[in-house]
Amino acid sequence: MIRWARMPLAPLALAFAAGIAFAPWLSAWQPWTVGAVATVATAMLAFAGRIRAATLALLAAVIAAGVIRGTPPPLPADHVAHLEAPIVAEVEGTVVGEPARPGRGRLRMLLDVTRVAGQPRSGRIQLSLFGGRPPDLVPGQRVRGELRLVRPVGFRNPGGFDYAAYLARRGIHVAATARGDALTGLDQPDAAWRTRVKRTALAAMDGALPPASAALLGGLLLGERTALPPEIQDAFRMAGVYHVLAVSGFNVALVAASVLAVLTLARVGPRAAALGAGIAVVGFAVVVGPEPSVVRATVMGVLVLGARLLDREASVLNGLAFAGLAILVARPTDLFDPGFQLSFAATLGIIVMPHPHGTIAGALSVSLAAQLAVLPITLAHFNQFSMIGPLANLGAVPLAAGATVLGLLGASLAFVVPGMADLLFNAAWPILLGLRAVAAGAAAVPGALVHLPAPSGLAIICYAGGLGLTLAAWRQRVDQPRRAIGTASAAAVLLAGAVGLGAGPLLPRPEGTLRISALDVGDADAIVIEPPAGGAILVEGGSGAHRLDAMERVVAPFLWNRGVLRLAALARTQPEAEATGRTDDRQIPAREIWTRDSFRDGPRLAGGMLVSAVSGAPLILRIDYGRASFLLAGDASVATERGLVAAGSPVGATVLLAPRHGARDSSTPAFMRAVAPTVAVVSVGARGAHGHPDAETLARLTAAGARVFRTDRDGAVLLETDGRVLTVAGFASGARERYCLDPEQDC
């Protein structure tokens, strides 16, 4: 049984989190009134001695509080979000936090706006600087510059990461861009001590170690991993040991333990030592920054040390609940942050799972507990989990601990005796190399990382319930063996249900419908074709993928969530063109690559539909299924269009995937007459720099009788047909059309 009485804060934290999670649905239900009534009811029921009812009323009140806290307050009248965007204006503001360097020549920071075009304004924006020479910026500095203000837009695809919503949760409704030299500092404040400490420590590591190792140590110690080469980060992720690169309870525990050990051995009294360790832990957290995992670990660490100070036993679960409550009250939207979820789930898993004795067995069990607890979270956010993780952690965690302790010592000495710090960093170097070797080795194991569709909410609930009941059965096995069997079977049913629900998308679809999805990837084409008989084909085109990794960040998750772990074929319309931003075939392997040669012997039957190439270079595919036909004209140039019309190629189609993002000189009148589409889909980026799609081109598409769908307005465009009826849906706009393709029949 769960002893709730020993952790009085846990139900409150859960209720508050539930309130935040369901705020969008519950906020219409008068949360203030409900909260007030529930509070009064709690008082009256408690007074009347009806404790159980009072408890329920209290929980209702806390849920109402969570709803109130989780509903974003209305923006003030002078908020930048009220400005017409996009505009270019002179903006004045204060730098918030340390600017990040996400790539070469790029600088990204948060800005608290004070003035726009001379008028007082408020609100936080995210500013990205490209190129130029940005001034040296420190947190708290006032800056001014001519910035381009825009509404942030992410790619809007089913199962995709909604960047705009992510920013909105952090209170950012406006993004800004400028060249680096467009920004000038209005004052030159001294960096805060925590910034100076962080910079000095990182500089000391940089001075003593080669770049990649220095960056790794910076990640281990301070969670500062922007300088870490991406292939090393990939290896850590695949090996399932990425968590050592984030500051967590691990670092906090090492800081506390190191200080405690040194102070105790220096014959400082136990209370003074606990106090000193507490101060060190809080100082460390302030330097590292307020990520949820840091705050959680620090709050719990301080609670444990405080209990030591007061000679009382600490309830770890209660501490965890307190940390969660504190974070959620201060920043409710952290609930949706993967870092928050991973940190709390892993900690909870480690605390509640019974661990065997013995160093290796115990370590393996801790690692396994954490992995089991975070499994649904990593699947939901990243579609992946590491099979090798529990094993890799056995090697990685001790190495990371060693390097962290040496690094911490070195970093603290860097302020006193720089020479000594260099020696300690050098001593950490072989350990860092060992850690990298463990990560690289584990990542190289076949099947180290598994990609799966994101589980549904119901699957996650079944999974959590199953794990909880398994735990309960384990605890009952001695005292109540008979009940334990019942609990265990219930747990097995729930876990089986979770697996079944989670594997749902992997099962073959009922045959007979062809699905074609034009994904929103900006000024590029990514078209996923799911033939009637199953499988999936990806057609990529447009060489100007404006984000290097847009394709793999959008296309791969979409396919995984559809249960496609392997492509039947991958067609690149310009096979020789520069390979920027293409789907990495390590993520989604393809059985076949389609080029013009694949169609040398004429049309092919693929998964129940007919695929033919109407042009070889660039590759233009035509798909026929029943009465529906699709022309994928992605990269057709004017000359190609002209050639196709002149040659009388079979271009007439129900749906035209319009050429070249609706460029000015595309979809010429003659070509449109030949295609005569019912529906035209333009794959184009919102606010692309090329001015696509062209208004006249759109007019030509409409004039040809086509209903136009655009990925910049509609998000991903999802087409589905059984050969008789065609439905078209815009994922973001919600636009839906249905066409009957059989003129003889009513459908």
Partner: protein, 165 residues
Amino acid sequence: MNLYTRPQLALVLGFALAAGAGYGVAVWRRAYPDLAGRLEQFDRRAPRDASAGRALAALTVETNAAEPSDARPGLEQRERAPAAGRMANARARGGRSDVPPEPVDVNRASAEELARLPGIGRTLAARIIETRDAGGPFASVDDLRRVPGLGHGRVEQLRAHVVSE
């Protein structure tokens, strides 16, 4: 008489050991910089096929100075530096200061003339000539995308410098 306890001695010894090991490593690194450099690089792969694309992309980014690249959750940035700034930037950074002042006719230009354009090197210039010879003259500047390796970005970058007649 015991001045220090065993844990105290262990702590001091451990610290001395770490410092000594660090000194040893530092001396070794100075003595064999090549070997140390190779060790440091063991898990940094040389550009493979897929990452060659990325490297190429990085080059494009250099000249465009506008293409964001970022780790999750940075799926941001449809916003870009204004196109004009981008051109100026490409010119400033492209390393080729001798961009022809007159627009170049892509249907008549020689390989040398083409190679002087921003973002076009010898290889791409040769490919433009090849494509022109094989597939006929370019109907428009946009038609340059027939050339393998010329994507949207490059064509847009070229637009101010070329004509097709």
